[in-house]
């Protein structure tokens, strides 16, 4: 009766796992903090920054944006509205299907997104404290977690 269930992945996290979870939480918190701060430096909210970054890679219809951001389409409308009002994003209607509006980053929008990406110091500075070997180990562990 020492171990009732046969090592289910859900029960009894060992100390090592717990510490890693704790550390990941810390990393998440700092990353977020840094991201919001970088966004604020460009007078953007976090949501606006995320959307703009997505559009910087490729134009996307509103519906896809909602899927990427994991929120309702009606929400995307507002965020795009505000970005459009500032000239960072444009709505183009898709000639192939006139229902869909494709959001596309303007030149200015792409510039802001690039600048934003560069001011994201976190995960660059702290990573610098790691040796090459440690970075490789980190990469492999993260890959393993996500795969």
């Amino acid at each position: 009766m020492a171990s009732p269930t046969p090592t289910p992945p859900n029960n009894r996290p060992d100390a090592l796992t717990l510490e890693v979870v704790e550390l990941i939480g810390e990393v998440v918190a700092r990353f977020h903090e840094d991201y919001e701060e970088a966004a604020a430096e460009h007078t953007l909210t976090g949501a606006q920054a995320r959307l703009l970054s997505l559009l910087c890679l490729e134009p996307l219809p509103m519906r896809r944006l909602a899927q990427r951001l994991k929120c309702e389409p009606s929400n995307v409308t507002g965020i795009v509205d505000r970005l459009e009002a500032r000239g960072l994003v444009e709505r183009q209607s898709d000639p192939a299907d006139r229902r869909v509006k494709v959001a596309v980053a303007t030149e200015e929008g792409r510039r802001v997104a690039r600048s934003l990406r560069e001011s994201l110091r976190f995960a660059r500075e702290p990573l610098a404290g790691l040796s090459e070997g440690e970075r490789v180990a980190l990469r492999d562990a993260l890959r393993g977690m996500l795969g």
Copy 2:
């Protein structure tokens, strides 16, 4: 001589670093998603869940809560209001300084927080896919990043 400068933090992120940054971004996204989902299962918002988790460790005055959550005290008022309305948190005035209100988790609040913590599957499940050695390497790399 092998490394002239102790790895200048600002310039020229190499491919490895970039990939790690990318992976961390992915981990952050999944962690957040999971956290919000776990919170929603308990009819809590993310902010409420974070605050309740803090209080589960120790009672805190409003001001400290604001510092921990990195937001304005006036914001904390609202979040605690809503948690208090649901009996998960209580306000007690500090006898030593009658200005300060100490927020403390109720029994029910602690129970919810515990349950929340347990339903946080992410970073436990994917971690299970890692060998002990990999987990140690991950821990050390994360420690290095945060220290």
